[in-house]
Symmetry: C2
Subunit: 97 residues, 2 copies
DNA sequence: ATCGTATATCGTAGATATACGATTAATAAT
DNA sequence: ATTATTAATCGTATATCTACGATATACGAT
């Protein structure tokens, strides 16, 4: 399998990782918000959550690590959006449970 | 809303709780196994997982707390099965992400 | 060059999670 | 009554998570 290609399904561990990343209310809220606004910078997420900037940054890192979101550095900002590919696989996987 | 009735959807926190419960490979394996065998006693799960009985028992407790499984005491055994109602709601909720 | 803005990272305290062995509790079998 | 079986709970060690403030980094604007 080449680097660029991606698996159709998720391993047990991958699914668990994604679930774990979604296992916190703040991170669910971030996902919901990104769904709503399509894309945004970190500061906007800090504004809607009752959490410190550093804490939000940590949550974003966790979501990124699980492949649920993408972050693109744009000058001093970082623009975040959902990673639709991972979400799609996650949904397919959950459907089969 | 009466006690017996159940909500159609899940709150942010409920969804996070369910995801959290699924956020461990062993617990995903338990769910998979229960899907496969429909129902079983704790000891069978202990047999298929490389974990101590007490650890498996803890994982089962976590899944039960999240409402993902049901456990019925039957003499000295406990018979576990999936809680289809919660799973259904979870799937619906994930689909909407 | 300096300042301001946006965000990531560091350090840290306290809470949870995860694993295990030992123990307890409940029942079934002898 | 004693013993065996099954599973939950307790106690505990270690690891991870979650939150924060402080600091570092990167860049744009002045």
């Amino acid at each position: 399998m080449k680097k660029q290609e991606s698996k159709i399904s998720l391993s047990n561990n991958e699914l668990a990782s994604i679930c774990k990343a979604l296992g916190h209310p703040a991170r669910i809220m971030i996902i919901d918000y990104l769904k709503e606004v399509d894309e945004c910078i970190c500061g906007q997420i800090v504004d809607i959550l009752p959490l410190a900037q550093s804490t939000v940054s940590q949550h974003l890192k966790a979501l990124k690590k699980a492949g649920l979101i993408k972050g693109e550095v744009d000058g001093p900002r970082t623009c975040y959006c959902l990673n639709e590919e991972t979400l799609k696989k996650f949904k397919q996987c959950v459907e089969k449970i």
